[in-house]
Symmetry: C2
Amino acid sequence: MSRESDDLADLVKTEAPEAEEDLEDLALGEDYALNPEYVPMVADALDRGDTERLRELLGALHPADIADLMGFLSWEDREELVPHLDPEALPEILSELDTDIREEVLEHVPSATLARALGEMDSDDAADVVDDLEEDKRAQVLAAMPEVERAAIESSLGYEDETAGRLMQREVVAAPQFWTVGQAIDHLRRESDELPELFFDIYVVDPAYKPVGAAPVSHLLRSRRDVPLAQIMEPVTEIPVDMDQEEVAYIFNKYHLISAPVVEPGGRLVGQITVDDIVGVIQDETEEDILALAGVSDAGRDADILGIVRSRLPWLVINLITEAIAVTVIGPFQDMVSKIVALVMLMPIVSSLGGNAGTQALTVAVRAIASRELSPANAYRVILRELAVGMFNGVAMGSLLGLGSWFLWHDPKLSLVVGLAIIANFFVAALGGILAPIMLDRFGRDPAVSSSVVVTFMTDFFGFLALLGIAALILL
Amino acid sequence: MSRESDDLADLVKTEAPEAEEDLEDLALGEDYALNPEYVPMVADALDRGDTERLRELLGALHPADIADLMGFLSWEDREELVPHLDPEALPEILSELDTDIREEVLEHVPSATLARALGEMDSDDAADVVDDLEEDKRAQVLAAMPEVERAAIESSLGYEDETAGRLMQREVVAAPQFWTVGQAIDHLRRESDELPELFFDIYVVDPAYKPVGAAPVSHLLRSRRDVPLAQIMEPVTEIPVDMDQEEVAYIFNKYHLISAPVVEPGGRLVGQITVDDIVGVIQDETEEDILALAGVSDAGRDADILGIVRSRLPWLVINLITEAIAVTVIGPFQDMVSKIVALVMLMPIVSSLGGNAGTQALTVAVRAIASRELSPANAYRVILRELAVGMFNGVAMGSLLGLGSWFLWHDPKLSLVVGLAIIANFFVAALGGILAPIMLDRFGRDPAVSSSVVVTFMTDFFGFLALLGIAALILL
């Protein structure tokens, strides 16, 4: 930026000084999303090295919004911004950052600052951050942390990624069965400093530290001091420490849980999972499904071009291979096609309509499997229903296309050919669309990942085959 | 079922009597989903009219699992099951049922029973149920309810569907600013019966009943009795009563909220939204996106064939129209195609690869817009990145297909044609894939709903045009 525009910027600033309150209004749009205009304001302050202005701009933002802001900045600006971040807000900002951006940011945070920030975080969030550190730095940071917190992080990292063990925080509030409400409240007041920042249930444990129930804090608050915990506690749904996070999310959603105790194989309480962690999991898991259905893997918010290419090219190659196989079916009919050129225009329509019908069926099936609405208990009924829908839609669309063809070519035989081809291909689409996800799931594969490839191949292959085969029978 | 097999069933039952505990183990699989074998056991008991057995089977299930079970039963069995449902569990079962199944079930629940069940439910859940009732029955049921509860439901139904007003429950715990922790706890103990079943925050309000902060119950529990609420309260994020539920979910997710106060336009506290309601919203909204991307609307879990046809046929018709327009581009090249039949096999490959590349780009863009990661602040950068990725993938796939063609037809010119066509179509795919969602969003349309149609049309149309046009230039 030139000296002149700098002066201009200063002038504008002097004329209309923004109080901190105004900045807060400016920062977020009506939908609470970061205002797009705020990003160049920060970038500009960074360019000018205006520390004072930066402090104001960042001060008006919630840590979650600062993390969001960093996602919109170029990586040069982001790197420059790191030293200006408030150490108080750092733990929350780090928890909120996307993995790929976090990895980059962490390189520019001094180990000592990082060790302090990690100490402020819940053990699950801290473990996620440590997981993103390069090996050298990880050793340095862990060495700079107090023994207890280091142990919590290391034990958290000992569990496999995407399991309950990684998702849980080790900080829980537990009380013995024989305590009363009053004893529990006195204990909480005494141990205030040791407690998790927020908690929703007090787990009632037996002498072997196995959870036997949970007393919601709101029940604790409304009960008289002499009521025993055993009287106000409710049954708990225990989460095994090695359970997959997708299953944990299913359970939370099904039973509307706010928090749940996590137990070791022996049944001992080792931590808790709270619903705010689950919201993230549900989003990640459905996100994965959406991307998988479109044949693309998650490259991360700020991936470079090569990273994105890597996330897409493999699927395109598979698509090329299946499509190349599908078109071989055209080979034997080449002579006929060169004579009846209308077929060239009808082929893409038959395969495309079939592909769409198949995609509709498979998407519904993939979602029904994910939400456990499709199981062996109703599979037979759902399959029959899909086939009926396929036949119905096939007859409807086949008639429509047959009619359209008749207007264009006035050849009733050709209309019959294309109508029958559509019906046949819709039957294949329905069959593939419902069976591919069910079979993939039965064999323990993720139905979202490869159903599309299978079904599109089927509808292309059989679409061409049906159109050209029926044409050969009727038209030649 | 014949009399003989009835006897056999009794015999088997006598030989291996199942304790209630065994049934509970049998009911749910390891993943906490309803065991598929449990469904025919219930259907069987219904067929035999074995009330005792039904009571046992249902008694082993959580209300959420009974709702789940009903989704797997045929509608005849479901209708028969309704009178056997425990009135105690009815409120929760009704809250959990899918809308289409619930509408059907509600017809078979007597108005008086229903009125009692609604009284037990949070006002948001009760309003949802009443919304599903037919007009006659709705009037009957509401008339049978106590004044206060009826008013709460009617006022909830006064807000538009999918807004904060419909999502919120009217039951909140509020306390004046000048209260201490001790006063708040005493109040809670005294008013225990009037309080919501579960609550996570006490909203601190000013004399005009505007929320000025929230005291998390866990903070209340750990503080001394003489501490003023104003000292332990935290800032709140107020939700306007008319905010769209998708935005509410975004805010909850971004700031990791557990509950938030809902306010009228004047700022007065009218209710609260808790995170467990949000989990459902997030799932519904991403579900909508997944289905929209596949060109199918939600027909409901137990839709009949006609319902499903209605949810899919419109998209197929649109697909037919766009595809019919796309193939018109082939018309002028018919002579060339009938001479060079290799083009017939290459056409579907070029259009299909382009379609896939476009779908990848648009799916990523649609998700980025939904999660507010793509905004005017970085749109320019993201568009450039997509175009670069498109060119890169185009060159890679064009080379691959050119090479493959050469092996098959040994015609270097043909390989050049198909390679260039792929590159051109990948450019179009990238452009459409990123611009269609951005433009649709800019004009206030849901980018998930029609991006696919636009992009597939573009890649089909330009795919044919590029292949045949370049062929006409180079090969003729």
